[in-house]
Symmetry: C2
Subunit: 324 residues, 2 copies
């Protein structure tokens, strides 16, 4: 029996060739030049503005290998960035990936990360166009996502106006509930709430809805990565406004997990990050597109802060350097 080959066994160039094979499986835009040259050339269509965002995922901080497969990690790294494009109302086009790992990492791990990246990109209509690999003490995946505006204005955090309606599309609290279940490590509960575990290990942003609500006239938008309360506050601060919102009923999945764990689900709903739901505002009288599954959160106000059923909410979010 032969041990699985490691990155040190095959070397950087063979690793890149192997990853290029995987990436080649995905759809490649005609005329693009990707893996194998100094840089990728990516067509944005007709609009010469690129929407660009980057996020780094670090082992032990953003994922754990005993909880997430390499494929999951690839999907999660891609999703975090693709959701940022959606939150600008941009159409996802391309990902670039920097993968760092110890030399003892199995080649199959790197290839599975690449597969996850390619599949998640494809689910958002994008491709993987290039990247870099390096040796490091721990595993990290840094993704840069590039999107196109196709002639539209970007939807910024700063565009919310008094009396705008406030909406959210996508799941809330699923990733946080999944994390709580993983931390409890009870096999029965993990089996029972598998969908929440999966939602933590592989986020599922509402792809396509960012562009749809931008086209329909959204005035401001953000994706929930630090928690609904924290991310909504970013929009309100940038726009110089506040919000009146109603208490959020948790969906059946989250409510059931909260009952089993004996906790209040509203902490997951308001404080849980990484679901990458899209929070957006629309002027009064403007209707969101009918095909976008959403719930109404409330209304933008001149008074600053967030009032939940009239009670001013305390800040609740995640700080990567301060939080545990």
């Amino acid at each position: 029996m032969t041990a699985e080959p490691t990155l040190a066994d095959v070397g950087e160039f063979a690793l890149i060739a192997r990853i290029a094979e995987v990436v080649g499986v995905g759809p490649v835009a005609v005329g693009d030049i990707g893996v194998g040259d100094d840089a990728a050339v990516i067509s944005l269509g007709r609009d010469p503005r690129v929407v660009a965002t980057t996020d780094v995922l670090i082992e032990g901080r953003h994922f754990r290998r005993d909880w997430s497969s390499a494929y999951d990690i690839g999907r999660k790294a891609a999703a975090a960035n693709l959701a940022d494009l959606e939150a600008m109302g941009a159409r996802p086009v391309s990902l670039l990936v920097a993968f760092a790992a110890p030399a003892t990492t199995p080649v199959g791990f790197a290839v599975d990360v690449a597969r996850g990246l390619v599949d998640e990109a494809a689910s958002a209509g994008a491709v993987v166009s290039g990247g870099d690999t390096a040796r490091a003490d721990s595993i990290s995946v840094t993704v840069t996502a590039l999107g196109a505006l196709d002639g539209r204005a970007p939807v910024l955090r700063s565009g919310a106006r008094v009396a705008d309606a406030l909406y959210v599309t996508g799941t809330l609290g699923w990733s946080a509930a999944g994390l709580a279940l993983l931390e409890l490590d009870d096999p029965l509960l993990i089996e029972r709430h598998r969908a929440l575990i999966d939602a933590h290990c592989q986020a599922r942003p509402p792809y396509g809805y960012g562009v749809a609500v931008a086209v329909a006239g959204a005035t401001a938008m953000i994706d929930v990565s630090d928690g609904l309360l924290a991310d909504l506050q970013h929009v309100l601060t940038a726009s110089g406004v506040g919000a009146d919102v109603a208490a959020l009923a948790s969906d059946e999945m989250v409510a059931a997990a909260a009952r089993d764990l004996g906790v209040d689900p509203s902490v997951w709903m308001w404080g849980g990050g990484e679901d990458h739901a899209l929070v957006f505002t629309m002027p009064p009288g403007v209707t969101p597109p009918a095909h976008v599954a959403l719930r109404t959160l409330g209304t933008i106000t001149a008074a600053p802060g967030i009032r939940i059923d009239g009670v001013l909410a305390e800040p609740l979010g995640f700080d990567h350097f301060v939080a545990t």
Copy 2:
């Protein structure tokens, strides 16, 4: 006396605000939306193709904090990516940066990395448009560089044709000589060859020359990041050709250091990476722009491989996972 504040002391959001201040010092393209929203919106001019590349620099692998200042590390991380754009004949426009570091890292360190990135970007005509920060066990800086083609075709590795002339612009062997001097750690030698040390800690790619030779009709181009021999071989392999080259005389700086260290400078010249010199080919009879300082390396041949003064060269390059 108060200890210098760390990333844990100020938290992620304050750190980002502090970095945004630094980044704001640099030139910001009109209409761009950068740090502070979900993604940056970057104008490429009139050509809706973006040239994109990403590189990760890891502490202990690509830099050492006892050799390089935080400012140097920022410059080096930017240079590696900007040089890749130059090697495509692209005009550098924007950088995105993912910075990961332990919570105990001084805030001033992160800010100085940002200053280095901003200054290096400015020297290539680009700006820093956005980024991400995360807590990690060691420091890494991942930069994605975006460039514009302004209607030109990109200059690929695969475009070299038989009888094309082969040129190089930029320094060769300086970074490798600087590294050898740092490893020897002799204060007198370090003082005497300060320019080579600086070249190792802060690369100086020949900005602007990539676009200039692209406009003049370069058929293939690459930047020297793994070593002249290894990178030239990438061009030859991609183009399905070989090259006859002449032995390279080392410049005075490199020759003096080689004498002091009692080594053959040709190993630095042919094998040293990270100078980010540009190697390019031009059709016979086409003259490179007069303002580009260059030397002629040789001629492209139908016979594969690299012959130095008629002798077939052995591969000599750097593999991040296999090399020491």
